[in-house]
Symmetry: C2
Subunit: 243 residues, 2 copies
């Protein structure tokens, strides 16, 4: 039991939630460490959506609503943290949802799919094939999903896979709290924000943007600037600690 007056109560409760999902094998044990990495960068952002991240979320909505075949790639951490809000994003964006895992086992695919279905998310199912130019199991995806998608939203993605998807000519939107990561630098659009804050924001923008605004946002988007903004926020917070 975490005492409620512990200064890091919220963060410790999220950790406990993820630990519970890890026991159910929805979250991988390595996913718990990956989450911790994100927590630290979020701490440096002040655990809030920055102005710049909000622009990235609006731009993500623009990419999704104007895509031909948008797909949201969901891994264990994303399912554990966002199953409750994914249904709304799927409805607002018209995107397919595909389960795609770094630590892939059929059992985990089934459990994560079950969790998403229970939350009202429509999940692509079928025979995954080795269709991505990557070594080992990370190559697997569905032909009617990620393989033929023009826009892929991959929250919490691995750098290798992000790069492979870009090389296939897709627009990749990632949600990554580390603005220095390879994923962040390789993606078409990087949202430097915590995933449970980011997804509802994207959903809201999907509902309100028109096609003209969407086109403008897509044309004017500048990923290096978004990353620079995030880095500046973190430098500022570190600097404040020196005062």
């Amino acid at each position: 039991m975490i005492p409620e007056n512990h200064p890091r109560y919220h963060s410790l409760i999220v950790r406990e939630t993820l630990a519970r999902y890890a026991k159910e094998e929805i979250v991988s044990l390595e996913g718990l460490s990956a989450h911790g990495r994100g927590e630290a960068f979020d701490y440096l952002l002040g655990e809030r959506t920055t102005e710049s991240a909000l622009i990235a979320e609006k731009t993500a909505a623009a990419f999704l609503i104007s895509a031909k075949n948008p797909v949201i790639s969901v891994n264990g951490n994303t399912a554990a943290l966002t199953a409750g809000v994914l249904k709304d994003l799927q409805e607002a964006s018209g995107a397919k949802v595909e389960v795609n895992l770094f630590h892939r086992t059929e059992a985990r695919i089934q459990k994560i799919t079950g969790l998403l279905l229970k939350s009202g998310v429509s999940v692509l199912e079928g025979n995954a094939e080795r269709l991505l130019p990557l070594p080992h199991d990370r190559a697997y995806c569905l032909r009617e999903g990620i393989y033929t998608a023009d826009v892929v939203l991959v929250p919490l993605e691995d750098g290798d896979r992000c790069q492979a998807l870009r090389e296939m000519g897709k627009d990749v939107i990632t949600i990554d709290l580390n603005p220095l990561s390879r994923t962040a630098r390789t993606a078409t659009l990087t949202i430097v924000d915590e995933v449970t804050r980011a997804l509802p924001n994207i959903t809201g923008f999907c509902k309100n943007l028109n096609q003209g605004e969407a086109r403008e946002l897509k044309e004017s988007h500048n990923n290096p600037k978004l990353l620079r903004d995030a880095i500046e926020e973190m430098k500022k917070r570190l600097g404040d600690a020196l005062d």
Copy 2:
């Protein structure tokens, strides 16, 4: 299997190691997240021992070798990552080793003690009592260990416990990659470095310092300066990413 050419191979392998220890219940699931947090700050340090951290490690050796009853407090993550090098530190410093857990169960205490004994570490055993001024199980420690220690080395410590030990008048040395944490700011001496790099350095200094040098290091140590140095290093690395 992590492909060897993955740019984050080392970090992913450490995560796998910790995940394996988590399956054996030596590392707690929450400990995996805590490790990830550290990874992020280490990334910002450039995954190396800074000049300032090396001074902190030398000063830690000074505190240990001049203490009357130095104790090293070991939790699951510390045991999993450093069992192999703790024996040398214990020999060089003359410190007792006590297992002390945030997520405390008798089973975990036994498993961690077993791992340490197998690595040649002498471990204090006995009846832990509620001796620290803290709520719940974190109050437990051994009378002949942490309770009567004058210097406690607590790698990867919780902020609450660090503060309680300080209030009992003890000198607390912590190893914490987050220079902004409550632990880092509360400890007598904070080593902002990765624990597997830090411990062998402290061991080396324990072997080479004489009592005069030790006294000087203790008298001149300046923890706020050590923390400022670490924060400056991180700001610099973030700044470099902007170039």
